[in-house]
């Protein structure tokens, strides 16, 4: 083919995003679970930090109907499409070191929803970082406006996710450690105070006995 014979100089340059910045930006938490009643709003804080990035960070949210979907390319819905209201700062102009981001969620409809909050730093060199936090929203309770026909399927899927939440990944081991210690402490305190009450009763009995004996001695001389 003539075209094949023809020398064409094609310089292909791909800039892989996130490689450099991915090491410097971090989020906590990386997933948020919220259980709400319809029209109830709940807020969570996300801590965004970086060791070496300064500048603008844009924030956006994306959503899906499929609770088991983890491919963000398939998150083609907006919160509005699902009846979810989400509020957060859309942009940080002068990000440096760290930033606390408050995310508030509510929904008019019952159902389970999955989304992601994506953080995109500015780049003058066409290097862009996109990291994010998962958003799992469980809205339950009676509401006449419920129109979500996929609720049954989604509830099944969210139950699986909730199971993961009940057995959290190594990122949250705080609860078990602390609660076990408190259980032991409470039982010890109960035993201690029971013994104290018994002793108090015995001592009170002794006091009463001596008082009666003294009165009898004063009255009758024996």
């Amino acid at each position: 083919m003539k075209n094949q014979m023809k020398f064409i100089n094609i310089v292909v340059v791909l800039i892989i995003l996130l490689s450099l910045v991915g090491a410097s930006l971090n989020l906590n938490p990386t997933k948020i679970y919220l259980s709400l009643n319809p029209n109830e709003e709940n807020c969570q804080k996300i801590f965004l930090s970086s060791q070496n990035y300064t500048g603008t960070i844009k924030v956006r949210d994306i959503w899906t109907n499929n609770l088991s979907e983890s491919n963000l390319n398939k998150y083609t819905l907006s919160a509005n499409d699902l009846g979810v209201t989400i509020n957060y700062p859309k942009q940080f102009d002068n990000f440096k070191d760290s930033q606390e981001v408050e995310v508030c969620l509510s929904s008019i409809n019952s159902g389970n929803y999955r989304g992601a909050l994506i953080f995109t730093p500015q780049s003058n060199t066409n290097v862009i970082v996109e990291i994010g936090t998962w958003l799992f929203l469980n809205v339950s309770g009676s509401n006449p406006e419920i129109t979500n026909t996929q609720q049954t399927t989604e509830e099944t899927q969210i139950n699986t996710i909730q199971t993961d939440k009940a057995n959290p990944s190594p990122s949250s081991i705080t609860g078990n450690v602390v609660s076990e210690g408190k259980e032991t402490s409470n039982s010890g305190r109960i035993i201690f105070w029971a013994i104290v009450v018994i002793i108090a009763v015995i001592l009170l009995s002794l006091v009463i006995y001596y008082i009666k004996r003294r009165i009898r001695w004063q009255r009758y001389g024996y």
């Binding site: 064409i8 800039i15 990386t30 983890s70 491919n71 990122s171 408190k182 013994i195 002793i199």
Partner: protein
């Protein structure tokens, strides 16, 4: 009377001893572990060099995660030619853009990417950007 006094003394002694032996010392402990969203794609930039129409170029790519397992979604923007880049994860070449890759913590993966230049492609420089959306694997 003696019985009551003895009982009280024994009870007091028990409380004193249990105060040393059975008392609970509360020591709360907790830790907060952050997820590591580090991802290192190499080479960076990914260069396919100078090609002729009808020719393809294969480049090896390595994705190296940090200490957390990651869910990585790939999206290529830019010239349509660049959006046609394919990747072979062991089951044959598929369109790289749109893929979702689960990376286990501290376990890099290496695979081939391929760019095919269709016949009739005009001479010029074609640029693209590969965006990796990095999330914690759940």
């Amino acid at each position: 009377m003696k019985y009551l006094i003895s009982l009280a003394l024994i009870a007091m002694l028990f409380v004193m001893v249990s105060g040393f032996i059975g008392a609970d010392v509360d020591q709360s402990t907790s830790v907060t572990v952050l997820s590591d969203l580090t991802l290192l794609p190499t080479p960076n930039p990914l260069l396919f060099g100078t090609l002729y129409p009808g020719i393809n170029s294969v480049q090896s790519v390595t994705l190296t995660p940090g200490n957390s397992s990651l869910s990585v979604s790939v999206n290529i923007t830019g010239d349509p030619l660049m959006q046609s880049i394919e990747a072979d994860f062991g089951t044959g070449y598929v369109l790289y853009s749109g893929q979702n890759i689960i990376l286990m913590n501290n376990s890099p993966i290496t695979f081939n990417t391929r760019l095919s230049i269709p016949s009739g492609t005009k001479q010029g420089t074609y640029n693209g950007i590969i965006v990796y959306y990095v999330m914690e694997a759940v």
